[in-house]
Amino acid sequence: MVGAACAYYAARAGLAVTVVDRGPVAGGTTGAGEGNLLVSDKEPGPELDLALRSAQLWEELAAEELPGGGTLGQVAEYEAKGGLVVAADPARLAALTAFAAGQTAAGVTARPVDGDGLRALEPHLARDQAGGVYYPQDAQVQPALAAAHLLRQARLAGAALRLGENVVGIDTDKEGRVAGVRTDRGRIAAPAVINAAGTWGGELAALAGVFLPVMPRRGFVLVTAPLPPLVRHKVYAADYVADVASDSADLQTSAVVEGTPSGPVLIGASRERVGYDRTLSVPVLRRLAAQAVALFPRLAEVPAMRAYRGFRPYMPDHLPAIGEDPRRPGLFHACGHEGAGIGLAPATGFFIAQQLVGEKPDFDLAPFRPDRFEADAAAGGGVPYGGSETGPDISPEIGPESRLDGGADR
C-alpha cells in the first residue's frame, strides 16, 4: 500500500517511476491486514497529525474519477462510515471522554454519545454500555483493491510495474549515494530508491548498509459468514485499565468490529510479537471472538468462516520511518507503519514525493527520521532488524517461507 501511494504521488509529480515487488500486487502485509483508516485510536502526537492529513488525502483519492468510469473510492470500497468507541461503565467512559477531549484539541472531530445515542447508531450493540464517542473521520477501504487501483493510476501516469522481481542489492556511487537497485533479473539505475518493503524494510535498509529496526508484529483477523447489515460503523471497546500500583491510567482498546460491503463482519486484529510464527493461536482467536460477542451479542450464533494473519511492520517507538536517509543519500524510507499503514499511506507517499522533487514537505517529518535509532545500532543494543524480541530471527534470505498468505477482506 505504501509503495503504491509513493508511486502514485511521485508519478503524478512527473517523475519516472519503476515499482519493483518480488510478489504480486498487495502480496505483503497489505493483503493480510484490514483497511481501517482511523484517527480515533491515536493519541495526540505526530502519528495523529499524520493520520489526520492522510484522512484528508484518502477523501481526495476516493473522489478521483477512473478512466473506465466510477471513482477510486468505489472500486476500493472506500466508506466514510465513522468509528464508534464504546465504554462499558462510567469509569471507562470518563477516561474515554478525557482522551477524546485531547484529540479534539489536536484537530479530531469527536462527538460524545450517551447510552441512547449508542443504540441509535448501532441498534444491535450490547445494551449495558455506558456511552461512547463517535468519530466521523474514521473510514475504511479494501486495502488490496486500494493498492492495486492506486498503482494502476500510477501506471497511467507513466510508472512501470515489475512484479515477481526480488531486490537483492542496492547500488551506490563513489560518494555513497544511491545509484539504483540490483534484482534477481538485473539492474535498475535510479538516483532515488524508496524502501517501501513494509515488514521487510529492515532487510532492504541493510542492503544499503543502514540500520533500520523494522520488526514483525503478528495479527489475526476473524471473518464471519456474510450477514445482513448488523454492524454499521467501526465499533470497538475502550477499556480502562487502572493499574493502581503504577498509578497509570492507560486506555486499552479491543478488536474493531465492522461490517463490509460484501456482507462479512471483520473482527481484528490481535497484536503479538512472535517473529514470523504463522501458527494459528487458538487463545488469540478466542479472545477476538469474545470481544466481538461482548459488543454485539447477536454475533454469538454467527459463524466465523475464516481467519487470517499478517505481520505488521513495527518499529520500537511505534512510528514509521518516512523520508530520506541522511546516512545514505538517495535512499528514502517509507515503511514501519505497524497497524496503520493503510491509513497512513497517502500522507507518506505525498511527503516522500515532495522530498523527491526537492520541495520542503509542508509537514514536520522529524519524528519519523529513519536514522533515529542510530544510537541503538551503535550501542549494538536494541533489536536487530528483521528479528523480534520473543520469536526466532527470520532467515536472512528472503525466501518464500517468509512470504505471507492467508487473505483479507478489508
Binding site: 485510536d41 512484479l163 497484536r271 469474545a290 466481538a292 460477542v293 454469538a300
Partner: protein
C-alpha cells in the same frame, strides 16, 4: 431438526486425554482407529459424519432401514467386518467415536504448554503434560453442522484422515440448479436414497464417473451418457500397473457391465461445454475434443436431461494439516497432497496421515494406509501410550475373536489370500505392536501396487487442457461470490495479480462460504494461463477448517484452564480486560 443424538450430552465418556486422535472416519480413519485400539492405544475418532464410512462407505441413514445397502457399494463385506470391530471397541470403551464433530483446528500443545497457554479442555492434564516427553495436541471441534457447542480433546498423536472433496471446473451454466457434483449425487443416493433427477448426464473425468453412473442407473435414473474427458487409449501405456491390480480392474469392469446392461453410452474425449436451462438444467451441450483437449467446433451435441453430475477428480482436504505445518507435494493430476514417509508419518512429530490426504487412490488404499499408520503410531508411542485409561475398560479382543477379522487386504474382491485370521488380530489386541512385521510387509507391498494403479489413473484422467476455452466473460468462476471470468482475467492482466491469493484479494474469488474449495483449481489454472507460465502455486491455507460460531470460539477466552465444552459461562462481558499491552490502538 436433529444433527445427532448426543449433541447436548457432553458427558459421553470423553476422556481428558487419548493416545491417538483420528480425524475422519472414512476407510483410512476407521482402519487406523481399530488397528491402534487393537494394539492397546486409547483412541478417539472425530468425524463430521453420523456413522463411520467416510465418502466411499456412506450408508443409508439407519431410520431408512435398508435391508441391502451393499447393492450400492463395492467391498461391503470388508466394511461391515471393520465396522464390527469398531463397534466392539466402542462398546468396550477403547475407542470413543465422536460423530458429527467438525474439527476446525488441531493445536499443538507440547511447545506451548510451558508458557501457560491454556485451552478449554486442558483440565487436569497440565501437570501430566509437563511430565510426559512426547507430543501433545488439542483437537478442537464444533458439534453439529452449524452447532452451538464446541469441544476439545487431547491426544499424544494425531492421524489426519480427512479425505477429499471433488474438484470442479467452471463452464457456462454450471451454477444452474440440477448441476451437482458426481460424488455429491453418489453421496446423497447412498445416504438418503434419492437421485438428483430422472435423466442424469454424468460428466467430467476419473474413475468415480463410472461408479456414479452405475449407481444412478441401478437406482432407477436414466443416464443418457457418461461424458469422459480423458482418452482411454492412454491406459495402454500403463499395462503393467494395471495387470498388477486385477481387483481394481474387476471393480471397473463391474461398473462397465452395469452401464452396458442399462444401455448407457460412454463418450470418451468429450466434455460438457455448457448447461442450459432457465431455473434448472434442462439440457447440456457436449463436444468432442481434439488432441490438445480443445472442443472441436461444429461437433457439439445437445442432450436433454434434468440433472448433470459432474466432477474432475478429487482434491485432498488439507486445511488442518497445513496449519500444523505438514509438507505437501503435487500429484500427477495437479492436486496437492501431504508428503508422508513409508510409515505414513508427516514431517511434523506426532502427526500421521492416511487415505486421500496423502494421495488420491480409493478406499482400498485408504484402508491399507490407515492400518500402516496405526502400526507405526503404536510402535512410536511408549507401551500403552500416555493416556489415563478408564479403570476397568475391558479389551475387546476376546469378544471379537468370534467375528471375522478383516484387514485391508480384504478391502475388495480379490481378498482372501491376504486375510489375516482371528489369531493374528487377537494377538495384536493384547496390546503389542511388536509383532505385526510380516503383516506390515504385506500391507506395504499392497500399498505400492495400489499406489502405482492410482498413479496411472491420475495420468490418464488429467484436467482437459483447454477447458477454459469454454468460459464466457460472464461465466461465474467462483460460485459463492459470483466472480465472473472477466474479473479474474482483469485482476491478472490489469491489476497486478500473479497468483491465486492476489486474485482472491482483488476479486473475492475464493473468499466466500466454501473458501475456494470449489473454484480453487480453476483459479489456479487460469492464473497460470493468464500469466503465461507456471504461476506460483501453493495449496490454499484455510486456518479454520470449518465454520465456527463466534460464541463457540469465545468460550474459555479468558479462562484458559476451564473445562471444555460449553460449561464455562459466557466470559466476555464480565471479563477483565487483558493486559497484554496497554494502550494498544486497534488497527
Amino acid at each position: 431438526m436433529t444433527d445427532v443424538n448426543d449433541v447436548n450430552d457432553l458427558n459421553d465418556g470423553v476422556r481428558d486425554r487419548y493416545d491417538l486422535a483420528v480425524i475422519g472416519a472414512g476407510p483410512a480413519g476407521f482402519a487406523a482407529a481399530v488397528t491402534a485400539a487393537d494394539a492397546g492405544l486409547a483412541v478417539v475418532i472425530l468425524d463430521a459424519g453420523r456413522a463411520a464410512g467416510g465418502q466411499f462407505y456412506r450408508q443409508p441413514a439407519a431410520a431408512l432401514r435398508a435391508a441391502r445397502p451393499d447393492r450400492l457399494h463395492h467391498g461391503w463385506r470388508a466394511y461391515t467386518a471393520w465396522t464390527g470391530r469398531l463397534a466392539a471397541h466402542v462398546a468396550a470403551g477403547t475407542i470413543n467415536h465422536l460423530t458429527d464433530h467438525h474439527v476446525w483446528t488441531v493445536e499443538r500443545l507440547d511447545a506451548d504448554a510451558a508458557d501457560g497457554r491454556g485451552l478449554a479442555g486442558a483440565g487436569s492434564a497440565t501437570a501430566e503434560t509437563a511430565a510426559s516427553p512426547g507430543t501433545l495436541f488439542a483437537v478442537h471441534a464444533v458439534i453439529g453442522a452449524g452447532g452451538a457447542t464446541g469441544r476439545a480433546v487431547q491426544a499424544s498423536a494425531v492421524l489426519l484422515a480427512t479425505g477429499a472433496y471433488e474438484r470442479q471446473l467452471p463452464f457456462p451454466g454450471w451454477t444452474l440448479p440440477g448441476v451437482v457434483t458426481a460424488g455429491g449425487a453418489q453421496a446423497q443416493l447412498k445416504d438418503s436414497l434419492v437421485v438428483p433427477g430422472r435423466r442424469v448426464v454424468v460428466a467430467g473425468t476419473g474413475p468415480l464417473l463410472l461408479s456414479v453412473a452405475a449407481s444412478l442407473a441401478l437406482a432407477g435414473a436414466k443416464v443418457p451418457a457418461v461424458v469422459e474427458a480423458a482418452d482411454p487409449l492412454r491406459y495402454a501405456r500403463h499395462a503393467k500397473a494395471l495387470a498388477l491390480n486385477p481387483g481394481k480392474l474387476i471393480e471397473g469392469a463391474g461398473y462397465a457391465a452395469t452401464l452396458v446392461r442399462h444401455g448407457i453410452p460412454v463418450r470418451p474425449r468429450h466434455v460438457v461445454v455448457a448447461a442450459h436451462g432457465e431455473r434448472r438444467v434442462e439440457a447440456v451441450s457436449i463436444a468432442r475434443t481434439d488432441r490438445a483437449g480443445r472442443p472441436v467446433p461444429g461437433r457439439e451435441r445437445m442432450i436433454t436431461c434434468d440433472a448433470l453430475a459432474v466432477g474432475y477428480g478429487l482434491d485432498a482436504q488439507l486445511e488442518i494439516a497445513l496449519e500444523l505445518g505438514c509438507g505437501t507435494r503435487r500429484e500427477p493430476d495437479g492436486g496437492w497432497v501431504l508428503t508422508v514417509d513409508a510409515q505414513q508419518r508427516t514431517g511434523v512429530p506426532g502427526v500421521w496421515a492416511a487415505g486421500e490426504t496423502t494421495g488420491v487412490g480409493g478406499a482400498q488404499l485408504a484402508l491399507i494406509e490407515g492400518e500402516l499408520a496405526a502400526h507405526s503410531i503404536a510402535a512410536t508411542l511408549p507401551a500403552g501410550g500416555f493416556a489415563v485409561r478408564a479403570a476397568g475398560a475391558s479389551r475387546p479382543g476376546r469378544a471379537m475373536s468370534q467375528t471375522a477379522q478383516p484387514s485391508a487386504g480384504d478391502g475388495g474382491e480379490t481378498g482372501s489370500a491376504d486375510r489375516v485370521g482371528p489369531v493374528a488380530a487377537a494377538g495384536r489386541s493384547v496390546g503389542s505392536a511388536a509383532r505385526p512385521g510380516r503383516k506390515v510387509a504385506k500391507l506395504v507391498r499392497r500399498r505400492a501396487r495400489l499406489r502405482a494403479f492410482a498413479d496411472v489413473l491420475q495420468q490418464v484422467h488429467t484436467l482437459p487442457e483447454r477447458w477454459s476455452d469454454n468460459l464466457r466473460a460472464d461465466t461465474a468462476v467462483c460460485r459463492c461470490e459470483e466472480v465472473p471470468y472477466a474479473a479474474v482475467r482483469d485482476a491478472v492482466t490489469d491489476l497486478g495479480a500473479t497468483d491465486s491469493r492476489s486474485v482472491k484479494l482483488l476479486t473475492r474469488a475464493g473468499m466466500g462460504w466454501c473458501q475456494g474449495r470449489m473454484c480453487g483449481t480453476a483459479v489456479q489454472c487460469l492464473v497460470g494461463e493468464l500469466t503465461g507460465g507456471e504461476a506460483k502455486a501453493a495449496p490454499a491455507a484455510r486456518p479454520l477448517a470449518c465454520p465456527v460460531p463466534l460464541g463457540v470460539l469465545a468460550e474459555g477466552a479468558f479462562a484458559p484452564a476451564a473445562p471444555a465444552s460449553g460449561t464455562s459461562p459466557a466470559p466476555a462481558a464480565a471479563a477483565p480486560p487483558h493486559a497484554e499491552r496497554p494502550a494498544d490502538p486497534p488497527d
